[in-house]
């Protein structure tokens, strides 16, 4: 299965003809998406349009019944078949994911949340992973929280730890699923600031968000989904401009 031609050279993520059902309901309807190395793609669209599902197909948390997903030059899934577990696990280390609900490991200190992946999956030495972990905590502005338990952090702090946890695996790309939707408004900014930093460093990212100003500012390309389909795609100027297609405009009219 690995010998077939790659979907698109130079792309870090590509999906070809993705169809995904939950039961009888069509959730992803012929999704063709290519993300180049270093590109920041923002995914927007109404609730239930399949944004999370698409993102989760990109690291094998969900599997589409039809179509192909390739990330980092490897075929993750094909016609409903995922890679064998061990190869899948290895490939997943190269794609970081940040969830709406943080999902920090509740029984581990902040620093251990960050180092457990490098130690147990990448088999890094304890000191090295700790040094890297502290560096990352510093980067997300939480150097003083290394020994805190997740339960004692604010939402914004939790999400920044979650980002550091993903970065600790030194991923080639990052998938963000509504990273600020669960946050109080005054905490949104600190998380977006970290994502801006990553964009400036050239990280390849797909970001699902309802923060339209942020989308406009950070995206190289915005993709609009509706009922499982990609209905529009283009630069922020095109999507927010007057020549955007009617479905995009009606969606934006509701959220802006």
């Amino acid at each position: 299965m690995m010998t077939q031609p790659k979907a698109s050279a130079g792309a870090l993520i590509s999906t070809i003809g993705l169809f995904k059902y939950f039961g009888d309901t069509l959730i992803l309807d012929d999704i063709n998406l290519t993300v180049q190395r270093g590109e920041v793609v923002v995914l927007i669209g109404p609730s239930g349009s399949g944004k999370s599902t698409l993102l989760r197909c990109c690291n094998g948390l969900e599997i589409a019944q039809k179509g192909i997903v390739e990330i980092c030059g490897e075929r993750l899934s094909q016609q409903g078949q995922l890679l064998p577990e061990r190869q899948l696990d290895a490939l997943r280390t190269r794609a970081g994911m940040v969830f709406q609900s943080f999902n920090l490991f509740a029984h581990l200190k902040v620093i251990d949340n960050i180092t457990i992946g490098p130690r147990k999956v990448l088999e890094q030495h304890a000191e090295e992973s700790r040094r890297l972990g502290l560096e990352l905590l510093d980067k997300v502005g939480l150097a003083d929280k290394a020994d805190a338990m997740p339960g004692n952090l604010s939402g914004g702090q939790k999400q920044r730890v979650a980002i550091a946890r993903a970065l600790a695996m030194r991923p080639e790309l990052m998938l963000f699923d509504e990273p600020t939707s669960a946050l109080d408004p005054e905490l949104v900014g600190e998380v977006l600031q970290v994502i801006r930093l990553l964009a400036a460093e050239g990280m390849t990212m797909i970001i699902v968000t309802h923060e339209m100003n942020f989308a406009r500012e950070i995206a190289d390309r915005i993709i609009v989904m509706d009922r499982g389909r990609i209905v529009d795609s283009g630069t922020p100027e095109m999507i927010f401009g007057s020549e955007a297609n009617p479905r995009t405009r009606s969606f934006l009219a509701k959220v802006l």
């Binding site: 690291n59 948390l61 577990e85 061990r86 696990d89 290895a90 490939l91 997943r92 280390t93 794609a95 970081g96 994911m97 969830f99 609900s101 943080f102 999902n103 920090l104 490991f105 509740a106 029984h107 200190k109 457990i116 992946g117 147990k120 999956v121 338990m149 339960g151 979650a162 946890r165 993903a166 695996m169």
Partner: protein, 222 residues
Amino acid sequence: MIDFDFSPVIENFGSLMHGTLITVEVVAVSMILSCTLGLLVGIGRLDTSRRLLYGICSFYVFIFRGTPLLVQLFIWYYGLPQFGISLPSFLCGVIGLGLYSASYVSEIVRGALQSVDKGQHEAARAIGMSRRVTMRLIIVPQAIVRIIPPLGNEFISLIKNSALISLVTIHDIMHEGQQIISVSYRSLEVYLAIGAVYLVLTWSVSRLLRTFENRLHTKGIQ
């Protein structure tokens, strides 16, 4: 006016203590069997898509939780010899108690594992952890805190249920007590003494587990 006479208890203190020791031995080995098997069966019932494993584990719980312990003990001790398999009575006691209790422990384990948020599992898989490592490092440690209180209840039941093993000729505290009664006719005093011994055992186990639980809490696990 009841006139108590504890002298048979005092005179036979040695044999009562010996019986207590046997009870503790059988119970301790049964607990290990019960926890190990209970953990495996509980995990086996997590994933309904693995049909065969799920079926076998569910059938196990159906049988061992659904029939009286006494019937199970008698089958191990009196039933199996019909197939030419005679197990020593100590082993019958351990197997009988252990397998019976494991069916309850498996339900405790399954409930606790399922109560850990699905997001924990997804976050672990997303950084490349295998199923097994996720279970060991992320899910089980969080489930343990929720397993301990009901497990304490199950251990207490196990201790009390162990009185039945005297019926498969194990010389436990119950058996020793009955021996003393058959000579002294001092039922009330002897049974009071036996009751006190069981109280000490159940109380010790619940203290032990509470201490363990507090240790986990002070480590910040909740």
